[in-house]
């Protein structure tokens, strides 16, 4: 009986995770497409220049500045926001897996999920990227 119960919760975690991934991908590609159309309508006839790498690392280091910028309908910032949603999608998946394992009382795997989140959190520290 216990085994049956744990199987049931496992599959409900699975469908929750599938749902999160689908929402994340659809939402981010929608935002990117929307920003892209604005960007192309404004800058479509400028010259494409990706041959040389420009260090613009400072521009988007602070996510809190990006949201107001995107709300003022700058195509680039909206696309950038969409990309952040995309990057956040698998991270949200790990977070929800942790919650799922917690409901299942599988504390070993709650710990493993939190460890993975901690590693990603570590990579977000600004000084890591130099």
């Amino acid at each position: 009986m216990k085994n049956l119960f744990s199987k049931l919760t496992d599959s409900s975690i699975q469908s929750l995770i599938g749902y999160i991934l689908r929402i994340g991908v659809l939402l981010s590609s929608g935002i990117v497409l929307f920003g892209g159309l604005i960007y192309l309508s404004r800058h479509g006839y400028s010259l494409a220049d990706y041959k040389v790498f420009h260090d613009e690392s400072a521009r988007y280091a602070d996510i809190s500045k990006l949201v107001p910028a995107a709300l003022s309908f700058h195509g680039r910032d909206i696309m950038q926001l969409g990309l952040i949603v995309l990057i956040a999608t698998p991270i949200a998946r790990v977070l929800f897996s942790a919650l799922g394992f917690l409901l299942e009382k599988d504390y070993l795997y709650v710990g493993i999920c939190l460890l993975v989140l901690a590693i990603i959190g570590f990579s977000m520290l600004n000084y890591i990227a130099g």
Binding site: A48, H54, Y60, M79, P90, R93, L108, V116
Partner: protein, 278 residues
């Protein structure tokens, strides 16, 4: 070239990459960086940033179906993600200090390796197989549905697979790829997991692994929104079409052609890297 034309060409190229990648199971990311650097003459740092973002999109998109079918081994994926994310962060930091021509050369060799891996004949060992204590402690042994019913399998050599995954993570962070070929190698050959489980679990892990290095890339300005926009949308559309065509076409012929393209691009990457053009 104007941004509009450039974006449209990139959209078409990425759609083709996503389509072929999903048809052959190699993933579109593997040819995106060569496509961007060799054909579109994009700086390799932008190219790997872009390709990394695209790999998050395709892996998340494809994972939806597999996770629901219950083929993906989520515990195994979560456990190995400790190794891949650590490796990915290390690889992304390494990428900042590695000269670009060296990145191109390493990339070329990984392309050759991926191509060989996809051509190799697959022999499935007998299941459930050897029981390891670590796998039992970590609850990694599992089962998956097939046409012939549910098959139970055991996971062997957990430590060896874990180390290999760390290495796959480093390459993923360094080159901006999902490094699916290495992940499958670790699970297939070292941990002796059924092929279907190893490919879907590897795909499941690619998203988190890539996100870990994407965070570092993002802060370094490797991920350009204007460039990523057509690539992400194109790859997603291509992969979507590819996954719906798969049932109808034989695929063997396409796989061969795709492998030739990959080998050609690998040689170009290595050649240009050696000459210092990239």
């Amino acid at each position: 070239m104007s941004i509009l034309i450039f974006s449209l060409l990139l959209l078409a190229g990425s759609m083709l990459a996503g389509f072929l990648g999903s048809l052959t199971g190699l993933g579109g990311g593997v040819i995106l960086t060569p496509l961007l650097t060799l054909v579109f003459h994009v700086d390799i740092r932008y190219a790997i940033g872009c390709s990394l973002i695209a790999s998050i999109a395709t892996s998340s998109g494809a994972a939806v179906a597999y996770v629901r079918e219950g083929i993906t081994n989520m515990r195994l994926g979560m456990f190995l993600e400790i190794a891949t994310t650590c490796g990915a962060v290390a690889g992304a930091i390494l990428a900042i200090y590695t000269p670009t021509h060296l990145v191109a050369i390493i990339f070329g060799f990984i392309l050759v390796f991926s191509s060989i891996m996809s051509m190799r004949r697959h022999v499935e060992p007998a299941y459930p197989g050897h029981e390891s204590k670590l796998a039992i402690a970590l609850k990694l042994n599992s089962q998956y549905p097939t046409k012939e019913g549910i098959i139970s399998y055991n996971v062997s050599n957990v430590a060896g697979g874990f180390v290999m995954m760390g290495f796959a993570g480093v390459l993923s962070g360094l080159l901006g790829i999902g490094s699916g070929a290495l992940k499958v190698l670790a699970m297939d050959l070292i941990m002796k997991i059924p092929f279907k489980v190893s490919t879907t679990t590897s795909n499941f892990m690619i998203g988190v692994t890539a996100s870990a290095s994407a965070v570092v890339y993002f802060q370094r300005g490797y991920i350009d929104a204007g460039l990523s926009m057509p690539v992400v949308l194109g790859v997603l559309a291509g992969a979507f079409i590819g996954s719906h065509v798969l049932i109808r076409t034989g695929g063997k012929w396409i796989k061969l052609v795709f492998n030739f393209i990959i080998l050609f691009m690998a040689i170009e990457m290595i050649y240009n890297g050696l000459k210092g053009n990239i």
